[in-house]
């Protein structure tokens, strides 16, 4: 489970309320059917990893991991065995005697993870666990944490503002904005069927254009009449249409596209694996659309700035919201 949202949206506050670090002013928190709303952190069942890791600098990696085990009336050899097991689990078998300052950021992160898991908590809380790391280490650790979590089967809540992190790691994502939950769903649901313009805009790249409902399943955009799902909105209602750049298709021979119209390439930016084209057209009136075009297509058709294109907007890919647009 991932809490995703812009900074200041309340995701960390929610995590801290779950941990009992900040007490909620209203509402209840239940864990496994038990009301834990009023319990102090020490009596709740969770392990936590912070953005800063909060590793004790004067204790070695092994001592850090052992910190939570030592008062559980366990024998020393048993503690040592468990610490070894945990360090092996996070791939730091040989680094137990090192101090945090002697470990790299990624290694520190894994020590913090091992420490949080030492007491076998029923719930693991991760507060922006990867944001302090280099981009490459971050991508690698994403998989590591995911695999570890699958293997141990421990319920995990992660807070992040990085949508890519949330999409790749979570089974379910909670998108939050200004203290409220916007949508809960699987990564694919969140991406494909964003429940609100906020979610649509926050996750990935999205085109927003304004239109008016003109029929049972049509919306008027400039001079275009687009077929799409209008969810029974009355004709005349002002709506915001949203479509992802990669869903806009360029018409080619032998293919039959929905909502076809003539447009012109006004700008073309190379982004490595694809080109992003800025589309304008007489039929679009003042609206512009961004479309992602495969490199192969651009090369084959020799697409450049100013070139006219026939494009289509697949009916099933257009989202219709009854609200003012976020981007003009």
């Amino acid at each position: 489970m991932c809490f995703l949202g812009p900074s200041g949206c309340g995701k960390t506050t929610l995590l801290r309320a779950i941990a009992g670090l900040d007490i909620q002013t209203s509402g209840r928190i239940e864990q496994a059917g038990r009301d834990i709303s009023a319990l102090p952190p020490t009596r709740r069942d969770f392990g936590i990893v912070f953005q800063s890791y909060a590793l004790f600098p004067n204790l070695t990696a092994a001592q850090n991991v052992a910190y939570g085990l030592q008062n559980a009336r366990k024998h020393r050899t048993e503690v040592a065995r468990r610490v070894r097991e945990l360090l092996d689990m996070v791939g730091l078998g040989g680094h137990g005697d090192k101090y945090p300052a002697q470990l790299s950021g990624g290694q520190q992160q894994r020590v913090a993870l091992a420490r949080a898991l030492a007491t076998s908590p029923g719930l693991l809380l991760l507060d922006e666990p990867l944001s302090a790391l280099d981009a490459k280490v971050r991508v690698y650790l994403r998989q590591e944490i995911r695999q570890l979590q699958r293997r141990l089967g421990v319920t995990t809540i992660m807070v992040t503002h990085d949508q890519e992190e949330a999409l790749t790691m979570a089974d379910r994502i909670v998108v939050m904005n200004q203290g409220a939950i916007e949508q809960v769903g699987t990564p694919i649901q969140i991406y494909r069927e964003p429940a609100s313009p906020f979610v649509a805009d926050f996750i990935g790249v999205m085109n927003f254009v304004t239109g008016t409902v003109s029929g049972a399943h049509t919306v008027r955009l400039g001079q275009l009449e687009l077929n799409c799902q209008t969810d029974g909105m009355a004709p005349g209602t002002a709506v915001t249409l949203a479509i992802r750049p990669e869903d806009i298709v360029v018409e080619e021979a032998g293919r039959d596209e929905d909502n076809v119209f003539e447009a012109r390439v006004d700008g073309l930016v190379f982004l490595g694996s694809f080109f992003r084209a800025d589309l304008v057209g007489d039929v679009l009136a003042a609206s512009r659309l961004r479309a992602d075009l495969p490199v192969e297509l651009v090369r084959r058709r020799a697409i450049g700035e100013g070139q006219p294109l026939t494009v289509g907007l697949p009916t099933g890919r257009i989202r219709v919201y009854p609200a003012a647009p976020i981007h003009p």
Partner: protein
């Protein structure tokens, strides 16, 4: 944790707030204890002999400040911005006055410029006893404090500002006025008010070389010890409290701004050798340093000869303290005992207090009150605190009366007297510790005290050592508060210096003052050794 907060809050209320409150009340009472309103104050301001001290105090404080701050600035400039040789040595010399009671510069000046003084002619017929002597002694006494502030302020310079100024073709004087001075301005403000406060509340220098020149601090002492007029003593104390509290408030604001100036990306300025400039700086430092050394040296020399400056044959007779009217050698032992207790108990109380303020969760009102109480002692002059203690602890109705004139009350008083600086030091160190440590421990089901003992204390150990040496040195040198509180069996070395000077045993007073100096040098050396050992031991986990 809450219980501890309440406990510590009560401790500070009993040892600080209540005594001060009672003193304020006493200033409004007549000799019989009846409420007389502002009558005491009216009497004070209509008695020229008393009222004159206000002007005198302000005058010597002003002159001392005007002299000390520029000297400290030049000295600090030499230490931080030049490549002159022996900078470490010069820094140690300038900090030496911290290690002696404020009575010592007066004694040294009497030997140098007194009626039989070596350099008497330099005063062109003026007498050292009076404002001249007070100012000269205060310069010696306050210079290291101003210097420390200036060194900090000048060390914070951003090299890129100078590079920008050079790129814009600024001349050296223009650079000095447009970059250096603005960068150090909060340091200058802070140093000005610290020096002013120290002088106006200092009692040692005017006591020894003030002669007939009355100032507020000596008035408190005379009213209480000489005339047993406690009510009037309280009035003078309250008047003394006003400029001290005012200066403290301004200094507090200035220090905050100084921190805000520091940007994390600043590139530290490193001076480059510049022969002529370095030599000038060396000359300035040598002149200022010589003055400090001369006062220390003449005091030690006079303590070892029969009768300075007439009979210069060697003798240890002045060290026979037991026959010299002060508290004897016992007082020296008492001082060490008191300083050790203060350093030990004081460090523990202050560090735990700072921990509760900084790391406590919830109970925000209590933490704010604790913080306020911890900041208060800085604004309270020692004499005022001492007098407040007499009123509170010598009250027949007080169950704590048994403490009066005991070692315990001296320790309690000294801890409170020097609470603020130690508290701020601890707070700074604690702020640098990751605030999530306590949270992680809670998630691992560990009690708070275990994290405190296994992580917080080890990580803060260098700071804890710094606090304890600060308390030790100050406990050894303090006179102002304890002078009202000691008993026959608990006289302190610093008080002994005062009493021997009073009875004319000046050489013995100098000898004892220098004993305090050597003890503090020893303690500082031990501290440096410990700190070094600690650094080596913990270099595995401490980032350098």
């Amino acid at each position: 944790m809450r219980a501890l907060m309440v406990l510590l809050g009560l401790y500070l209320v009993v040892t600080l707030a209540v005594p001060l409150g009672i003193m304020l009340a006493k200033s409004l009472q007549g000799p019989g204890g009846a409420f007389v309103g502002a009558a005491n104050y009216i009497q004070y301001f209509s008695t020229p002999a008393l009222f004159q001290s206000v002007g005198n105090s302000l005058w010597v404080s002003l002159v001392s400040t005007v002299i000390t701050v520029p000297l400290a600035f030049v000295y600090a400039y030499a230490l931080t911005r030049s490549c002159m040789p022996w900078r470490g040595f010069f820094k140690s010399v300038a900090l030496a006055p911290i290690l002696v009671p404020s009575l010592l510069p007066g004694i040294g000046l009497v030997y140098l410029f007194g009626n039989q003084g070596l350099l008497k002619e330099l005063l062109f017929g003026h007498r050292i006893y009076g404002p001249i002597g007070i100012v000269m002694a205060e310069v010696f006494f306050t210079l290291p404090h101003a210097l420390l502030i200036m060194v900090t302020a000048l060390s914070l310079a951003d090299a890129r500002l100078y590079e920008a100024a050079i790129a814009l073709r600024a001349t050296r004087p223009r650079m000095f006025w447009s970059v250096t001075v603005p960068g150090a301005r909060y340091g200058l403000i802070s140093a000005t008010f610290v020096v002013f406060t120290m002088v106006i509340t200092d009692f040692g220098a005017p006591k020894v070389v003030g002669g007939q020149y009355n100032v507020l601090a000596t008035d408190v002492y005379k009213q209480v010890i000489g005339q047993q007029n406690f009510g009037m003593g309280a009035v003078v104390s309250v008047i003394l409290l006003v400029p001290a509290a005012f200066a403290f408030a301004i200094d507090h604001v200035a220090r905050r701004r100084q921190v805000a100036l520091l940007s994390a990306r600043a590139v530290p300025y490193a001076p480059r050798p510049h022969r002529g400039f370095d030599l000038i700086m060396l000359g300035c430092s040598a002149v200022i340093g010589s003055y400090l050394v001369a006062i220390l040296a003449v005091s030690q020399y006079a303590a070892l000869v029969k009768f300075f400056p007439y009979d210069l044959s060697f003798t240890l007779a002045h060290y026979d303290f037991d026959r010299k009217g002060g508290g004897g050698w016992l007082s020296y032992g008492n001082s060490i005992e008191m300083a050790l207790w203060t350093a030990g108990a004081g460090t523990a109380i202050i560090f735990v207090g700072a921990y509760l303020v900084e790391k406590g969760r919830g109970f925000a009102a209590a933490r704010a009150v604790l913080q306020f109480l911890a900041m208060m002692p800085m604004a309270v002059p020692g004499l005022v605190l001492g007098l407040a203690y007499i009123f509170f602890f010598n009250d027949p109705g007080n169950p704590l009366r048994g403490l009066y004139r005991t070692m315990a009350i001296l320790v309690i008083n000294t801890i409170v007297h020097f609470y603020t600086v130690a508290h701020l030091t601890a707070l700074t160190a604690l702020k640098q510790i990751d605030p999530e440590f306590e949270t992680v421990s809670a998630s691992l089901k560990q009690p708070v005290y275990r994290t405190f003992a296994r992580v917080t204390v080890p990580v803060s150990l260098p700071t804890i050592l710094d606090i304890s040496i600060y308390l030790f040195v100050n406990a050894m040198t303090t006179v102002s508060a304890v002078v009202f509180l000691y008993g026959p069996r608990t006289e302190l070395a610093s008080v002994s210096v005062l009493n021997m000077d009073d009875t004319g045993e000046i050489a013995s007073a100098a000898a004892m003052a220098m004993m305090i100096f050597y003890t503090n040098v020893g303690a500082r050396t031990l501290h440096a050794g410990l700190a070094h050992w600690l650094e080596r031991r913990t270099q595995g986990w401490r980032r350098s």
